[in-house]
């Protein structure tokens, strides 16, 4: 079975500073990787995804993530954050094979708080 670990439960940062939200996964088969954002009282919105190809993936709102297979990581980054980026961010994986094919597994979430 696959699992996802988000290493920071909360990340405070000042506006216009860079930010990195860390995500590590484990799986016995190939995976696809996703980052979702959840604003208060709303559903999850896809930020970006890695399916194949270039390991550096760009998403919406200026976010990007890099897939590192050797370190089984998929960290999310933004060079300059805004107040409006305050939200909870979830890393998720889908098994590309095996008995859990297609099952989306989420990490515990990281609350990003951007201060003025």
């Amino acid at each position: 079975a696959q699992s996802v670990t988000q290493l920071d439960s909360q990340v405070p940062v000042f506006e216009e500073a860079p930010v990195e939200l860390r995500c590590n996964y484990s799986s016995s088969v190939s995976v696809y990787l996703f980052w979702y954002v959840q604003y208060p009282n709303q559903g999850l919105q896809l930020l970006l995804k890695y399916l194949s190809g270039s390991t550096l993936v760009k998403g919406i709102n200026g976010f990007e993530a890099e897939f590192n297979k050797s370190q089984t990581s998929f960290h999310l980054r933004k060079p300059s954050v805004h107040i409006s980026d305050t939200a909870e961010y979830f890393c998720a994986v889908i098994n590309a094979g095996g008995t859990s094919y297609g099952k989306l597994t989420f990490g515990q979430g990281t609350i990003l708080t951007v201060h003025p």
């Binding site: 996802v4 439960s9 696809y32 996703f34 979702y36 009282n41 709303q42 559903g43 999850l44 919105q45 896809l46 995804k49 399916l51 979830f90 998720a92 889908i94 590309a96 297609g102 099952k103 989306l104 989420f106 990490g107 515990q108 979430g109």
Partner: protein, 118 residues
């Protein structure tokens, strides 16, 4: 294009009462998912449908939870009777099918139903 629609958005009930949640997926999406999200946690899959068939319900507590998707479009998730520990957000998501195509498709989430059991 309309997104995933869920109702109600909020529900407060007393323990031992029944409750039902409704979801209408994005048009054309034949795969539908119900997730449970506890406070401070990531969503966990309860059940996945491809058309009318429940292809993964291994995490659904079948003693009190049930779900149906009779015509392969909208779906209802029911809890009977509700317990205090069922207080959570219930999320519905949809995507194009993967089992027949073998392709992984992005899941689109609804706003969720926040259930409070008192």
């Amino acid at each position: 294009e309309a997104g995933v629609v869920q109702s109600p958005r909020y529900k407060i009930i007393e323990k031992k009462q029944p409750v039902a949640f409704w979801c209408n997926p994005i048009s054309g999406h034949n795969t539908l998912y119900w997730y449970l999200q506890n406070l401070g946690q990531g969503p966990e899959l309860l059940i996945r449908y491809e058309n009318e068939e429940a292809v993964d319900d291994s995490q659904l507590p079948k003693d009190r939870f049930s779900a149906e998707r009779l015509k392969g479009v909208d779906s209802t998730l029911k809890i009977q009777p509700a317990e205090l520990g069922d207080s959570a957000v219930y999320l519905c998501a949809s995507s194009f099918g993967m089992r027949t195509s073998g392709t992984i498709y992005e899941q689109y989430f609804g706003p969720g139903t926040r259930l409070t059991v008192t």
